[in-house]
């Protein structure tokens, strides 16, 4: 009679994994620490305004067991570390000050809680690689924004403090409704990192991010436009452009970067052509006829004419 357990001991592995996972993920009890900790009452003796401001933010909602305020009267010291030495000496060097720490040291405090969900990909992200600190953008005690506790009133103001080029592009004639307040940088990007390229928030590729809103362009189509299938940014500048439809160059010149052949693609569309009212340059140029340029579902649409 064969013994039970012949072959791969899947049941043992499964049990071991279960034990491991439960042990690993079981959080420590939210008990108060005692060594070197003085408690919130001592902190707000001098820092009353910070204490009041904290209570008005999510960090101060003690009902949430994940917040600093849930830590039995040690809301301040959960982030700033033990305060005994600072309380005794009054010196600012004797307490953890985020503006005085290196970016990664400061971030470690925040990441001790903010390491899931939208923040799961922070480590290794572009901002992490460039020594951006959480406190570069966020303020725990004196935020100015309606959400996300930013140091500025809007998300765009925060981002454009470093990303000047993109801030300039948003003001160009062809733009998304960012300056009108209908979109902001975080409509597309996740500043805390993401699984997508360019810290894009949605999807697994640049195109998947774009078509999350422009879903009519998603396809897949019966006839695909090769340049657009792989990368919308081959033709469009998502931050802004001086051209119609946010194209990186005017039509037909843009199309002529890939289409040479013979006939009308390699024609010089100069003022002479304009004067004759050529529909290859007036209006929307090539797209006057090739209107299904993102792809066609018509059996006769292999040239995107139908």
């Amino acid at each position: 009679m064969p013994k039970r357990g012949d072959g791969f001991p899947a049941h043992l592995v499964a049990t071991a994994l279960t034990v491991f996972c439960l042990a690993v993920v079981a959080p420590t009890a939210a008990g108060a620490q005692t060594t070197g900790f003085v408690g919130d009452e001592t902190c707000v003796t001098c820092h009353d305004s910070e204490g009041k401001a904290l209570r008005e933010t999510l960090h101060g909602k003690s009902q949430n067991a994940r917040t600093p305020a849930a830590k039995n009267g040690q809301a301040c010291e959960t982030c700033h570390g033990p305060g005994q030495k600072h309380a005794d000496s009054g010196k600012k060097e004797d307490i953890r000050r985020f503006t005085a720490l290196s970016a990664r040291d400061a971030n470690e405090a925040c990441l001790s809680c903010h390491r899931k969900g939208d923040h799961a990909e922070w480590q290794g992200s572009m901002h992490d690689a460039r020594n951006v600190s959480c406190v570069t953008c966020h303020s725990v005690h004196s935020p100015k924004s309606e959400k996300a506790q930013l140091k500025t009133v809007t998300v765009t103001q925060t981002c454009e403090s470093c990303h000047k080029q993109e801030a300039l592009k948003i003001k160009k004639a062809g733009h998304m409704p960012v300056r009108e307040g209908k979109m902001e940088c975080t409509s597309c990007h996740s500043p805390h990192g993401s699984n997508n390229v360019r810290m894009l928030k949605v999807g697994n590729s640049l195109n998947e991010s774009c078509v999350s809103c422009h879903t009519e362009k998603r396809g897949p189509y019966l006839w695909e436009h090769a340049a657009g299938r792989e990368n919308c940014a081959s033709c469009h500048d998502p931050h802004g452009s001086n051209n119609d439809r946010m194209l990186v160059a005017k039509v037909p010149m843009l199309c002529q970067r890939c289409h040479i052949s013979s006939g009308h693609p390699p024609v010089v569309y100069d003022q002479t052509q304009l004067n004759s009212g050529s529909n290859r340059v007036v209006g929307r140029g090539c797209v006057n006829c090739h209107s299904q340029i993102h792809g066609s579902n018509s059996p006769a649409g292999y040239n995107f004419l139908r």
């Binding site: 009890a29 067991a65 189509y221 006057n288 292999y302 004419l305």
Partner: protein, 727 residues
């Protein structure tokens, strides 16, 4: 058996202890209420336009029509146990937004938003077409008969019969989100989003080389429904997340049929009475993903993993090859599109900080787009609904591709406020049915960041990459009628260099100066035809001053960006067989040197209660864009000298003045003045562009019938008075 039982018992015990930790009771408090800050603005708005102003372009994504306004409604109530928020903006207008949220701290977070975004194209558009039924646009039969019999001209018909209409569309988004946290370690999230897009948009279609391209007000009536759910379980040490995302696009108008103004009846040789094209098909996308992370490993190490698998499909019924009844429409290869794709994505990272000064990161990313559509062979087709195109013999090319990307970075911080980083990326992309079957790119980068000091912030990065495309088969390119030396810039070999820098100096806490500079240089060494090079230069300088904290601040910023590009082509006339005589003749080469420059300056001043009870904000923004396209020919050219097109100019001036007088702690009286001036000169899209437009007539031999949607100037002065109530 005994071992298994013991392990299960141990698991239960550990779970129990963990559960006790998770359910640790927070300190006892009785719910109390904090002072809420609520607000609502009620006002009246009016705009004065200069004669001939393009009101639609002024508004574009906003509804700034004259009338009463209810704006910036904010209501919130917070206690120690829950918070409620309600917001409303631009109530009653096409760009209105409503938002509500409820948070039970530590347990539940839910929100709902309704957001409308209009897109105003034009209020001066006119069209001969009317909507007979959804997706069917017709011109009067009398017009078709007259044009067919040549008893009238298209311009005459337009002048007499084109009806005015507003060209606009709107996007309405309803967004629901719920996050439930039954335990500290478990997050359950569901979301649902519905996006409706309705209205019209400009879309042109033609009837062949000898016909007129008709610019139509294409109807838009689409819906995208998305929903998803995820569960994330974990704590400080690790977490696992499972997620599903579904997206379903539906188009209520799958095709567009429009009258041919020149034909009342179908003809097999003289053209159709109607044309028909396929609009965006219904599509589905379903994605499953699993991700996780392990934290608190030795040396401050952290690892994440992400895998997703998705399926896209489009199975719309296919329209016939033609709507021209005088042509025998070829048999369809199949009755539905049956287009399918599978998408696999992975992302793995490992980050470590073995010492306080050293940081290491490695990432591997893979993305595969696998087009699994069954073969679709078109033997015979129809061109423009006009003529039968026999012997096309065109097989659909699936455009599958796989991208592998490896990143490695190492950062060294000798002191806390300095970080220098070196990084390397290698990317391989394999493609199906492109001229280059694969590309391989190596990217090196160096960056330096000085941060964390109160007076100086410096950031700089240099990047150098070389992309090599696999050899192109000249025979394959020639078979398509293309030049073998063509490099399609998205996949061609490319040398890329980028350098950017940012400096912020804050000599005193109330004053900071900033400057940025950047340069990108792209060269395509193997591309004789197509894009040869593209450069980008960008600079900005500015300052911010806060002489009185929370009372006075002002700032100024100036930015400049220049994009240049060089592309090469060769003129060759169309021939019915073989290659044109100039196809291989370099004397027919021509070049286009494009230059796109943007200047921007903006200034702002904010003065808060320096004048008692008065808040003042003043701002001015100036943006100018100028684009030139300069044609040149080869030294021994056989082509006629080109007549250069005029530069394209966009210039935007916008000034705002806002003052709020606080009558009391609860009531304020406000006034806003907005000055907005836009000037434009566009050879293709400005009013001077040639084309058939409804009155007045513009062109002698036009080949496109336009709606009259152009880039037009405007000058607008908007005045807005409001009462602002706070409670």
């Amino acid at each position: 058996m005994r071992t298994t039982s013991l392990m299960i018992a141990a698991a239960v015990l550990l779970t129990a202890s963990g559960a006790r930790g998770q359910d640790a009771t927070p300190p006892e408090t009785t719910p109390t209420e904090f002072a809420p800050v609520n607000q609502m603005d009620i006002g009246l708005r009016g705009t004065n336009y200069a004669t001939g102003s393009d009101k639609a372009r002024y508004m574009r994504y906003q509804d700034l029509r004259d009338g009463g306004t209810v704006d910036k409604f904010r209501f919130s109530k917070e206690t120690t146990s829950y918070g409620v928020g309600v917001q409303a903006d631009h109530v009653g207008y096409l760009d209105q937004r409503f938002f509500g949220s409820y948070t039970n701290y530590g347990t539940l977070k839910t929100s709902f938003e309704w957001n409308q975004t209009p897109l105003f194209y034009s209020e001066t558009t006119r069209t001969l077409y009317s909507t007979a039924s959804p997706g069917v646009l017709t011109v009067p039969a009398s017009v078709q008969a007259g044009l067919q019999a040549k008893t009238t001209t298209l311009q005459q018909a337009l002048n007499a019969g084109a009806a005015p209409f507003d060209l606009k569309s709107r996007r309405d988004v309803a967004n629901f989100n719920l996050l439930y946290t039954p335990t500290v370690a478990l997050d359950l999230n569901v979301y649902a989003r519905n996006t409706n897009r309705t209205g019209t948009q400009p879309m042109s279609a033609g009837f062949g080389f000898s016909g007129v391209a008709d610019e139509l007000a294409a109807p838009v009536d689409t819906r995208t429904t998305e929903f998803g759910a995820s569960s994330q379980y974990g704590g400080d040490r690790a977490f696992v997340k499972l997620a599903y995302d579904g997206s379903f696009f539906r188009n209520n108008i799958p095709s567009l049929t429009w009258s041919n103004p020149f034909r009342l009846t179908d003809s097999p040789t003289l053209g159709p009475a109607n044309g028909r094209l396929s609009l965006w098909p219904d599509t589905n996308q379903n994605t499953l993903s699993v991700s996780g992370a392990i934290n608190q490993m030795p040396w401050h190490s952290h690892a994440t993993g992400y895998v997703s698998y998705g399926a896209q499909s489009n199975n719309d019924p296919l329209i016939p090859f033609t709507v021209n009844s005088a042509i025998s429409s070829p048999a369809l290869p199949r009755t539905t599109a049956d287009v399918q794709a599978r998408i696999t994505a992975m992302n793995y990272t490992f980050t470590s900080r073995p010492t306080r000064t050293v940081w290491l990161n490695a990432r591997y990313r893979q993305y595969e787009f696998d087009d699994r559509t069954p073969a679709f062979l078109v033997v015979n087709s129809v061109s423009y609904d006009y003529t039968l195109a026999p012997g096309v013999n065109l097989l659909r090319d699936p455009l599958s591709y796989t991208r592998h990307t490896f990143d490695g970075d190492a950062s060294y911080s000798p002191v806390s406020f300095i970080g220098v980083r070196a990084g390397y990326t290698h990317e391989e992309i394999d493609r199906l049915n492109r001229y280059s079957a694969s590309t391989s790119e190596n990217i090196g980068r160096l960056s330096a960041d000085v941060t964390g000091t109160s007076w100086l912030n410096v950031r700089g990065v240099y990047e150098n990459s070389k992309r090599v495309a696999s050899p192109v088969d000249p025979a394959e390119v020639l078979a398509d009628g293309e030049q073998p030396a063509l490099g399609q810039f998205d996949i061609a070999s490319r040398n890329h260099q980028r350098i950017t820098g940012l400096v912020v100096v804050t000599p005193i806490s109330d004053l900071s100066f900033n400057a940025t500079a950047g340069k990108i240089k792209d060269e395509y060494p193997d591309s004789y035809f197509g894009l040869n090079s593209a450069d980008n230069n960008v600079y900005s300088v500015g300052f911010d001053a806060v002489p009185l904290e929370n009372r006075v601040n002002f700032g100024f910023e100036y930015g400049y960006e220049k994009n240049t590009a060089l592309q090469t082509s060769r003129y060759a006339a169309h021939v019915t067989s073989g290659f044109p005589p100039t196809f291989f003749d370099p004397r027919a080469d021509w070049y286009d040197n494009s230059n796109d420059t943007t200047y921007n300056a903006n200034a702002s001043v904010e003065i808060v209660k320096v004048i008692p009870r008065v808040d003042i904000k003043v701002g001015y923004d100036y943006t100018k864009g100028q684009s030139t396209y300069l044609y040149s020919l080869s030294a021994n050219t056989i082509l006629a000298a080109p007549v250069q097109v005029s530069p394209v100019l966009n210039e935007h001036n916008m000034g705002t003045f806002d003052a709020l007088y606080h009558v009391s702690m609860h009531l304020g009286v406000g006034f806003t003045y907005l000055y907005d001036k836009y000037t434009v000169n566009d050879f293709a899209l400005g009013p001077q562009a040639n084309g058939l437009v409804p009155s007045p007539p513009t062109a002698a031999t036009p080949s496109i019938m336009m709606l009259g949607y152009y880039w037009m100037p405007y000058t607008a002065n908007t005045f807005w008075g409001r009462l602002s109530y706070r409670w």
